[in-house]
C-alpha cells in the first residue's frame, strides 16, 4: 500500500512545480518549520520518558553488578561474557531459536500451503466464517491461549485423549512436564496463535495477484509446482516478509505463553530470554545481568529482522 502511494505522489510532483514554489515561499514566511516540532512534541515526550530513557538505562545497567537495592559496582563486560557462557542465559537464547521453527517456519509453510489450496475455493459466506474462526487465536490474550493449551496437554487433556483414541499412546503423558517434549509443546501454542493469521494474510495476497498471470502460465503448460514457483511465491514476497518478521519477533520476545504454561521449566528446558530477564531482575535480583541479556536480545532482533526487511524491499 505504501509503495503505490509514494509512486502516485512522485509522478504528481513535476506537474505541480510552480505551485510547489508558491508553497515554499508561504512556508518560509511562516517560519522555517520549527513550529512543526510542536506536532511531534507530545509523542516524543512519552516516547522519550518511557522508552528511550529506559533503553539507555538498560544499556547503562548492563555494565554494573547490581542487586536493585544497594550500591552498584562496575562490572565491565562480565555480564555480557556470562550471557554466552552461563547455561541458563545462553540456553534461553537457543530455546528462542527453536521457537522460531514453531512460530515462523511451520505457520508460514502451513499458511502458504492452505492459502494456495484454498485459492479457488469460492463462496463469500464460507470465506467470512472461516476467516473469522482463523482469526480467533490472534484476538484472545496470549495468556488465555496458554491456559487453554495447558489443559490440552494435561494428562486428562485432549491431546492424550486423541492419541489414546487412535491407539498411539497407552499411558498418559504430561507434555509440558517432560524435558524432551516441553519446548515443542510450548512452540505448538505459538503455532496455534499465528497460523490462522498467516493463512488469511497470504490468502488476501494471493487474491491480489493478477489472474492473467496464472492463465498465461497454464497456456504455457506449466504444472502446479512450476506455477507456484514462478508466480505465487514471487508475487507473495511482501506478505511473506511480513509473516516472517512478525512471527520471528514473537518467537524471540516470547513471554506470556511461557510464563503461564511452564515458567521456563522443567529445569531450563523452556526458558526464553524474556522470562529470564524477568526472573533475573525480580526474583534473583541480578539487574545488571538481566540488562546485558536484554541488550543482547535487542541486538539479536535487529540483526535478524533488518536483513529480512531489505529482502522485502528489493526489486
Amino acid at each position: 500500500m505504501t509503495s503505490s502511494n509514494t509512486r502516485v505522489s512522485s509522478t504528481a510532483r513535476p506537474t505541480a512545480d510552480p505551485q510547489t514554489r508558491v508553497r515554499r515561499r508561504r512556508v518560509s514566511r511562516r517560519g522555517t518549520g520549527w513550529s512543526t516540532l510542536l506536532w511531534v512534541l507530545p509523542a516524543l515526550t512519552v516516547y522519550g520518558i518511557f522508552v528511550l530513557y529506559p533503553l539507555v538505562e538498560t544499556v547503562d545497567y548492563s555494565f554494573y553488578k547490581w542487586d536493585g537495592i544497594g550500591a552498584a559496582t562496575p562490572a565491565g563486560f562480565a555480564n555480557y561474557q556470562a550471557v554466552f557462557t552461563q547455561s541458563a542465559l545462553y540456553v534461553s537464547i537457543l530455546n528462542s531459536f527453536v521457537l522460531i521453527v514453531f512460530f515462523t517456519v511451520i505457520p508460514v509453510t502451513l499458511g502458504l500451503v492452505s492459502a494456495v489450496l484454498m485459492r479457488e475455493l469460492k463462496g463469500r459466506g464460507v470465506g467470512t466464517v472461516i476467516r473469522t474462526l482463523l482469526f480467533l487465536p490472534e484476538v484472545i490474550p496470549l495468556a488465555g491461549a496458554a491456559i487453554a493449551w495447558t489443559w490440552m496437554y494435561s494428562p486428562n487433556g485432549v491431546v492424550n485423549q486423541v492419541l489414546r483414541a487412535v491407539g498411539l499412546a497407552s499411558d498418559q503423558h504430561a507434555w509440558l512436564g517432560d524435558f524432551s517434549t516441553a519446548l515443542p509443546a510450548v512452540g505448538i501454542i505459538g503455532t496455534w496463535v499465528v497460523t490462522g493469521f498467516c493463512t488469511v494474510l497470504l490468502l488476501v495476497g494471493i487474491a491480489k495477484i493478477d489472474p492473467s498471470l496464472f492463465e498465461a502460465a497454464r497456456l504455457d503448460g506449466a504444472g502446479r509446482w512450476a506455477e507456484f514457483r514462478a508466480i505465487t511465491l514471487p508475487e507473495l514476497r511482501r506478505e511473506l516478509v511480513v509473516c516472517v518478521t512478525v512471527t520471528i519477533i514473537a518467537a524471540l520476545a516470547s513471554f506470556d505463553v511461557v510464563y503461564i504454561a511452564t515458567q521456563g521449566g522443567p529445569g531450563y528446558s523452556t526458558i526464553v530470554p524474556g522470562l529470564e530477564i524477568y526472573q533475573l531482575t525480580f526474583i534473583r535480583q541480578q539487574v545488571g545481568q538481566a540488562s546485558a541479556l536484554a541488550v543482547v536480545l535487542v541486538a539479536l532482533v535487529l540483526v535478524i529482522i533488518v536483513p529480512i526487511q531489505r529482502l522485502g524491499r528489493e526489486r
Binding site: 505504501t2 509523542a43 520518558i49 530513557y53
Partner: protein, 275 residues
C-alpha cells in the same frame, strides 16, 4: 480425467481447511465443555457435559470479581487509546508535512522502537515508575504503554498522511489555510480509515498486554484482562473446571468485541501487518 482431478483437488482443499479449523477451534471447544462439568470432578479434555453446570460461570464471575476487572480494564483502555491515537496522529502529520530540519532523524528515532521488545525496558521502567511514585497504580501501565505505542502509531499515521495527494495541500495553501486548518479540515477527514484501524490495534494491544501488568501492577483490582488470567490461574489452577469457566469469562469481552467488529478487526490486523 479433468473432472476427476478437480474433484480430488477440491476434496484435498476441503480436508486441509477442515483440519486447520479443527486445530483452531479444538482448544476453545475443550475449554467450553470442561467449564460445564461438575466442579470437583476430573473430566477428560473433551467430554459432552450430560448435566451442564451453567452455575460454574456464576462462581467464576464472582471468583474473578469480574465487574471490578471490567472497570479496571476499561479505565486503562480509556487512559491509553485516545491519547495514543491523538499523539500518533499529530506526530504523523508533523513528520509527513514538515520541512523541519532533522525530521528524518526524529522519524528514525521512532522507527528504532518498532522492533524493540518490551522485555528490554522492564527493569529501568520498574525503578523509574517507583521513583515517580506510580508503581502499582494504573498509571504504571498507561504511561509506558503510551510510549511503547508511539513507534508504530507514528509510522502508521505518517504513512497515511504521506499517501494523500500533494495537490491537496497546495490547493488549500493557496486558499490561505493555516496549518491547523489544513490538518483539521482537509487532511484529517481523509485519514479516518487509517485512524480507526489504529484505534482497534491500540485497543487490542492494551487489552491483551501481559508483561507490563505482571511486572508493574501488584493489586489484581488495577489489572487488565490478560493480567487477570494469570491471577485467576494462580488462585484456581487446581480446579480445572472453574479455571476454564473463569478464563472463558475473562476472555468473553475480547470475543464479543471481536465478533461485533470482526470486519474492522480483520482489516486492521491485516493492514497493520502489511505496513
Amino acid at each position: 480425467m479433468n473432472m476427476a482431478e478437480t474433484t480430488t483437488a477440491r476434496t484435498t482443499r476441503i480436508l486441509i481447511l477442515t483440519l486447520l479449523i479443527v486445530f483452531t477451534v479444538l482448544p476453545l471447544l475443550s475449554m467450553i465443555t470442561t467449564a460445564l462439568q461438575k466442579q470437583g470432578t476430573f473430566p477428560s479434555g473433551l467430554s459432552l457435559p450430560t448435566h451442564p453446570q451453567w452455575g460454574n460461570f456464576v462462581d467464576a464471575w464472582n471468583a474473578a470479581d469480574f465487574p471490578a476487572l471490567l472497570k479496571s480494564s476499561t479505565l486503562i483502555v480509556l487512559g491509553v487509546v485516545p491519547a495514543a491515537v491523538v499523539f500518533s496522529t499529530l506526530a504523523g502529520y508533523g513528520l509527513a508535512a514538515s520541512r523541519l530540519p532533522g525530521r528524518s532523524l526524529v522519524y528514525g528515532l521512532f522507527i528504532l522502537g518498532l522492533t524493540l521488545p518490551a522485555e528490554a525496558l522492564i527493569s529501568p521502567l520498574y525503578y523509574e515508575l517507583q521513583s515517580m511514585g506510580l508503581l502499582n497504580s494504573r498509571w504504571a501501565l498507561i504511561l509506558p504503554l503510551l510510549g511503547l505505542f508511539m513507534p508504530f502509531g507514528v509510522f502508521w499515521m505518517r504513512a497515511a498522511f504521506q499517501g494523500l495527494p500533494a495537490e491537496l495541500s497546495e490547493a488549500a495553501e493557496i486558499d490561505g489555510a493555516s496549518s491547523w486548518q489544513m490538518f483539521r479540515r482537509v487532511k484529517l477527514p481523509l485519514v479516518l480509515p487509517s485512524l480507526s484501524s489504529l484505534t482497534i490495534l491500540f485497543f487490542l494491544w492494551t487489552w491483551n498486554q501481559f508483561l507490563l501488568v505482571i511486572v508493574l501492577i501488584n493489586n489484581p483490582a488495577d489489572s487488565n484482562m490478560a493480567g487477570a488470567l494469570a491471577t485467576f490461574q494462580g488462585e484456581h489452577g487446581t480446579n480445572v473446571v472453574l479455571l476454564c469457566a473463569g478464563a472463558l469469562i475473562i476472555m468473553a469481552p475480547s470475543l464479543v468485541i471481536f465478533f461485533a467488529f470482526q470486519r474492522q478487526f480483520v482489516r486492521a490486523l491485516l493492514q497493520g501487518a502489511i505496513k
